[in-house]
């Protein structure tokens, strides 16, 4: 079964004279374990597509099914809940709650899920170890570098054991070393945890590391390459 399956997914904006087909009848299937990059120039509909995949926006037509559940039919509250339990997010910036430590930030998701303390503690420590920040668990975001913050974001994204992780330009604000480091971690986690990673990116380093590259243009998929 596919983790993500969209059929004829469309988003049309009717802002004036001419309706804009941001996403135009896209059929997309993503499987478990994928390490996939979505690329495309601005206006390609990449953003809109991934917003819908992430349950942040609703389609005007078509369906989007994640692990058997149809997102297009969900109301806002259901979507929020779904995101909590099934989707992990790594944004370009502003990932973390500024007043919480790395440990607390990672734990936050699990608290929202009401998981018991023992489970939370164990998983948080283990994840932060995976991303190489065991010695920084009590530091607040203001005390961490950009790269370190993104690593915590990854730990946080995975803490909830999501079906997949959506990473939006995660390396955009990082220097080379941090960027590579981050990618390595995510690749490793992808292999070890088996979690699907979907990137939206312009960063060539990310594209090169991806095993599948999907290119969008004018709201449609124009290229779908498997590599590596």
């Amino acid at each position: 079964m596919y983790v993500i399956e969209t059929k004829d997914l469309s988003k049309v904006y009717d802002n004036g004279a001419v309706p804009v087909h941001a996403v135009n009848g896209v059929d997309l299937n993503i499987e478990d374990d994928e390490f996939t990059a979505i690329v495309g120039p601005s206006g390609s509909g990449k953003t809109t597509l991934l917003n819908m995949v992430g349950g942040l926006d609703s389609p005007t037509a078509g369906t989007i099914v994640v692990n058997g559940k149809d997102l297009s039919r969900m109301r806002e509250n259901e979507l929020i809940n779904f995101r909590l339990n099934h989707i992990g997010f790594v944004f370009q910036s502003y990932n973390l709650i500024p007043v919480l430590t790395a440990k607390e930030n990672t734990e936050f998701i699990m608290l929202l899920q009401k998981r018991p303390k023992k489970e939370r503690d164990a998983r948080v420590l283990s994840l932060l170890k995976e991303v190489g920040l065991s010695d920084k668990i009590n530091k607040k975001p203001s005390e961490l570098s950009g790269g370190q913050q993104q690593r915590v974001a990854v730990a946080r994204a995975l803490a909830a054991k999501p079906d997949f992780v959506l990473a939006d330009e995660p390396t955009a604000n990082l220097d080379s070393k941090s960027a590579t480091n981050l990618l390595n971690i995510m690749a490793r986690l992808n292999k070890e945890e088996g979690t699907t990673f979907i990137f939206s990116t312009h960063d060539q380093r990310v594209i090169d590391r991806a095993r599948r590259v999907i290119t969008l243009e004018d709201g449609k998929i124009v290229k779908d390459i498997t590599q590596n």
């Binding site: 926006d57 909590l84 997010f89 910036s93 502003y94 990932n95 709650i97 007043v99 607390e104 939206s200």
Partner: protein
């Protein structure tokens, strides 16, 4: 966890939060202290009224008051009743009085007075009037027709101890009578108006002048415990169905009104203060929400639902208000307790206060329930204040709040 986040969020802008907290603390401190001030005044007044003026229970002829204190309406069997009451189990002290409206005249002036004939020993026990004598003696030093005059009246009539005065009043048979009295002592109560309009003479002597068959016009009773009032009133109403038996609240309903009215006034007063505070709180929380749109959007994206988000805003508002509120209440408590012992001197307004029987030294006091009430009001205030900023937070769409994917 939300509490932890909310608490820390407040301190992201230390100065801004401190300003709001200080405002709330000051507002509540002032409010609470003023409540204590006025309740202190009233409490004192009530104690004084019961102890020195009205006692717990009074008994009259049923038509005495209706007939405007006509001396004809004295209590039948008044002497017997007074005796019985003095040995009643509930009664601490009781005193009977012969009362007549009249005029007092000195060489210099006249004035209208209420002439109260008392049994000095017994009356002193009941109202402590002997302690209020500031010049001369309480019915000592003058052999016959002694009279006790209030300081304000004495000044008005330009008389002093051992001065001679003439009392003019109506005998029970209708004739106007006058008699000479000599000032044995001058008294001063908390109420200058009272001092100006009441004089004390000896019961037995007064009866000879105003009507031998008069028993008492008024029997006043001080109970052993304040709490006995209702029981005692019922008991005596039952024992003397033909008489007018009243408890102090019935005699001076003003006292209850004062307390009730003060409750209401204070409520409005605190409400106004809270409303004034609300503007500042709303403004601050609004800013706190609007400057964090990206963060809030992110929270919604990763799965924090609207209910929790609103709760976070609400908690921030609440904590802000409660910190300020707590400080304010504690400050209020400390100052009230301090002045409850030391007293606040409002002597510059002495003429006004004394004319209506308020002491010029105020001892603030506030029952615990008012602190609790105020704290609750702060909680409700916070909830209301958080509504608008909370709404703003909820209206955010995570998509617009964060950079698009």
């Amino acid at each position: 966890m939300l509490i932890k986040i909310s608490w820390r969020n407040i301190w992201r802008h230390k100065l801004r939060s401190a300003v709001v907290i200080t405002a709330i603390a000051l507002g509540l401190w002032a409010g609470v202290f003023i409540m204590g001030f006025y309740f202190g005044i009233i409490e004192q007044k009530i104690n004084d009224v019961v102890r020195s003026e009205v006692s717990h229970i009074q008994i009259h002829h049923p038509d005495y008051k209706k007939e405007d204190f006509n001396i004809n309406y004295f209590i039948p069997d008044g002497l017997t009743i007074s005796e019985d009451l003095s040995v009643d189990t509930l009664v601490q002290y009781t005193s009977g009085r012969v009362i007549s409206m009249g005029m007092i005249g000195s060489a210099k002036a006249n004035s209208g007075v209420r002439i109260i004939g008392i049994d000095p020993e017994v009356e002193a026990l009941l109202t402590g009037i002997d302690n209020k004598v500031i010049e001369g003696a309480f019915f000592k030093g003058v052999k016959r027709n002694a009279i006790l005059v209030g300081q304000k009246l004495a000044t008005k009539l330009n008389i002093k101890v051992r001065s001679k005065v003439v009392l003019t009043f109506q005998h029970i048979n209708g004739e106007i009578t006058a008699a000479a009295f000599r000032v044995a002592g001058i008294f001063k109560t908390l109420n200058t108006t009272y001092d100006e309009s009441n004089v004390y003479v000896n019961n037995k002597e007064f009866r000879k002048l105003v009507g031998e068959n008069i028993t008492y016009h008024e029997i006043a009773i001080l109970l052993k415990e304040h709490e006995y009032v209702d029981t005692a009133a019922e008991k005596y109403k039952g024992l003397y169905p033909g008489l007018l038996v009243e408890d102090w609240l019935e005699i001076v309903p003003l006292m209850r009104y004062m307390t009730d009215m003060m409750d209401q006034v204070m409520l409005i007063f605190m409400l106004i203060i809270m409303l004034a505070l609300m503007f500042g709180i709303v403004n601050t929380m609004l800013m706190a929400v609007l400057e964090r749109t990206r963060e809030l959007g992110m929270l919604m994206a990763i799965g924090m639902n609207k209910f929790r988000l609103f709760n976070m805003i609400l908690l921030e508002t609440l904590i802000l208000a409660m910190v300020g509120g707590l400080i304010g209440l504690i400050l209020g408590y400390i100052t009230i307790e301090y002045y409850a012992v030391k007293g606040i001197d409002v002597g510059i307004f002495s003429a006004a206060y004394e004319s209506v029987g308020f002491s010029t030294k105020v001892f603030p006091q506030l029952e615990a329930r008012y602190y609790i009430q105020t704290a609750l009001q702060v909680v409700i205030l916070s909830i209301f204040a958080s509504l608008y900023p909370g709404r703003k937070a909820l209206k955010l769409k995570p998509v617009e709040a964060i950079r698009k994917i």
